[in-house]
């Protein structure tokens, strides 16, 4: 059984603040790009599932050849097989187009039990590609998995984090899950892993190599939505007023007065 992880190359979270609206959609955002931090949990979980239940971990990404960097990180962590999906025909796909491409790639890889994704990407933030892949594959989807309790040949028992509590749910396999950060502690790649990742070849798989891919469902022309008017959030204006007072009690009382006057209490 294969555990397939879908990952994305995204900006380093320290540098998200430096991304400029004019650069979005450009080939180079001008910031350091890394494996999406949410996806590290999914990669780690796939590796642990292989250790617990046997099988094989496969990592898949969609993007330009730069996206190889995301695959490299996963391989350095210990994933055996990596698939780069790259083709000009894929560019501009929305979440559902992306989900269709990934679903067809997953079908081609075959013998999949669980498909794992992170909660969301730190750039698109939608969390829609995971459920999209499940919908395209026609298999169950479980979001926010905090623990994989058990995996058998045809089922998985999972702990699903909801706002009000933890649910234990059993789904038929194959299935798609998104994992939450509570699920594990992602490992750091070791030297051997990094060397292996740097020596591995990452040939691109294009649209022509994905059987059943519907060209009408992918690319910018099929996108059902478009980001317009990209802008920075309104800057917080004004300087911070440091509240003075002869004592802590007086400072606190002065602050309380200010906040009551602001009508936020």
């Amino acid at each position: 059984m294969k555990f397939i992880v879908c990952v994305k190359l995204t900006p380093d979270t320290e540098q998200l603040v430096d991304v400029q609206p004019k650069d979005i959609g450009a080939a180079d955002l001008g910031v350091t790009m890394v494996l999406n931090p949410w996806d590290e949990f999914a990669v780690e979980e796939a590796l642990q599932l292989v250790e617990r239940f046997d099988g094989e971990a496969v990592v898949v990404t969609l993007g330009s050849t730069d996206a190889t960097e995301a695959l490299k990180r996963a391989v350095a962590m210990g994933v055996e097989e990596a698939v780069l999906l790259s083709d000009p025909a894929f560019e501009g796909s929305d979440a559902w187009g992306t989900a269709h491409i990934l679903a067809q790639a997953i079908r081609k890889i075959g013998d999949y039990g669980l498909v794992l994704t992170g909660k969301q990407s730190v750039d698109g933030n939608s969390g829609m590609v995971g459920p999209g892949v499940a919908a395209k594959l026609g298999v169950p989807f479980v979001a926010g998995v905090a623990k994989v309790v058990d995996v058998t040949d045809d089922s998985a028992t999972l702990l699903r984090a909801l706002d009000e509590g933890m649910q234990t749910v059993k789904v038929k396999l194959p299935a798609v899950i998104s994992v939450s950060k509570e699920i594990n502690e992602p490992r750091y790649p070791n030297f051997m892993g990094i060397r292996k990742a740097s020596r591995m070849q990452y040939p691109a798989t294009g649209a022509g190599e994905l059987p059943g891919l519907e060209k009408s469902q992918i690319g910018e022309s099929a996108a059902l939505l478009k980001w317009t008017n990209l802008r920075k959030p309104p800057a917080r204006t004004g300087k911070c007023e440091i509240i003075a007072g002869a004592s802590v009690a007086e400072q606190a009382a002065n602050l309380a007065d200010k906040l009551i006057a602001e009508k936020v209490i």
């Binding site: 900006p11 979270t13 320290e14 998200l16 603040v17 991304v19 609206p21 979440a95 989900a99 730190v122 750039d123 933030n125 939608s126 829609m128 459920p131 999209g132 919908a135 395209k136 169950p140 989807f141 479980v142 979001a143 926010g144 028992t157 909801l162 706002d163 009000e164 509590g165 649910q167 234990t168 749910v169 059993k170 789904v171 038929k172 299935a175 950060k181 059902l224 939505l225 478009k226 980001w227 317009t228 008017n229 990209l230 920075k232 959030p233 917080r236 911070c240 007023e241 440091i242 509240i243 802590v248 009690a249 400072q251 606190a252 009382a253 602050l255 309380a256 200010k258 936020v264 209490i265």
Partner: protein, 326 residues
């Protein structure tokens, strides 16, 4: 006839406030479009909730009621939501961006090929009556207005994006049972352990008192909780405090936690890492209490007190108790 369809999310019949917030917004948009508002809910024993939805702005309430919906079950909810869409024939669909509902929405939207914008915080209509959805991307560092290219437009919406509508019990509306055939058995809920403590969730709170590394330990959250209680607010935390195991993850505010938009955010012993600011800089008023006058949190705060939170926070609690008579 086309309509606006609103998904009402609840837990055991207790409606999540964001459901009413988006119902109120749907009412406003429907007024501009001249279309009715249809609401949808799935669960068990929902008669009270259905009447409340009418009072809050629904013209028609589609209710999928039965044991299949007693637990959160994606397969059952997807089937029910699809049935609701079939009945309502909506041009716009609004769904709370809550854990659970957001995934049901995405599964349904993808399988029906409906364009969807996630985690929106503003909604409007263009001249042709198409939805314009404002949402943060790049973890709150960029805002975009999503435009749609399709006849049906769906958005999931964050809590506190719109005010709660005033309930009007004299409003007329119809409650219609929704017949759903739940297919197959690919998903079985085995058990559910409630962890909800009755505390106000940060995403629904108008006031948040939040603690960071400076809180120093689990017991350090006691004064934070006391202040939150006096203010009727929620307790938040930075990633540092959550990773240290001082407070559970649902309290975490920031890029890897919740994004919040309270009226007042009081950051106690939080330095203000970029990742934390991404989750709370939408607050109307930010207050920082920190020993380090150079902490980055002071660059986004409107008010600050430079001092030890263990002195300042209890003093604030005392001050508010006296001034608010609580």
């Amino acid at each position: 006839m086309s309509s606006i369809l609103v998904y009402i999310d609840h837990f055991g019949g207790a409606t999540k406030p964001v459901s009413w917030e988006i119902l109120g917004k749907a009412r406003e948009l429907a007024g501009k479009l001249g279309t009715p508002v249809t609401a949808f809910v799935a669960g068990q024993n929902l008669a009270d909730l259905a009447s409340e939805a009418i009072a809050c702005g629904a013209d028609k309430m589609l209710v999928a009621d039965g044991p299949a919906f007693a637990q959160f079950n994606v397969q059952a909810l997807v089937a029910a939501f699809k049935a609701a869409i079939e009945v309502a024939q909506p041009r716009i669909i609004l769904v709370p961006a809550t854990a659970g509902a957001r995934d049901v929405a995405a599964l349904v939207a993808c399988s029906l090929n409906i364009g969807m914008a996630a985690d929106c915080q503003g909604l409007d209509l263009d001249d042709a009556g198409n939805l314009l959805a404002e949402r943060p991307v790049f973890s709150g560092n960029i805002i975009t207005t999503v435009v749609f290219n399709g006849p049906i437009q769906m958005a999931t919406v964050r809590a506190r994006s719109f005010p709660l509508p005033a309930a009007d019990s004299s409003r007329a509306g119809v409650i219609v049972p929704l017949v759903v055939s739940v297919p197959g058995d690919t998903e079985e809920v085995l058990s559910f352990e409630v962890t909800e403590t009755g505390e106000l969730a940060v995403e629904n709170a108008g006031i948040i008192v939040s603690g960071g590394r400076g809180v120093k330990g689990p017991e350090g959250f006691a004064p934070i909780r006391d202040l939150a209680k006096v203010l009727g607010g929620a307790v938040g935390a930075s990633r540092a405090a959550v990773d240290a195991g001082w407070i559970p993850y649902p309290h975490q505010v920031g890029q890897t936690g919740k994004s919040v938009r309270p009226d007042l955010y009081i950051a106690c012993g939080i330095s203000g890492a970029i990742q934390h600011l991404a989750g709370m800089s939408g607050a109307k008023v930010i207050v920082s209490i920190n020993k380090d006058k150079d902490a980055p949190i002071f660059t986004v705060a409107r008010y600050g007190i430079v001092g030890d939170l263990f002195d300042v926070v209890p003093a604030l609690t005392t001050a508010f108790k006296a001034k608010l008579g609580r």
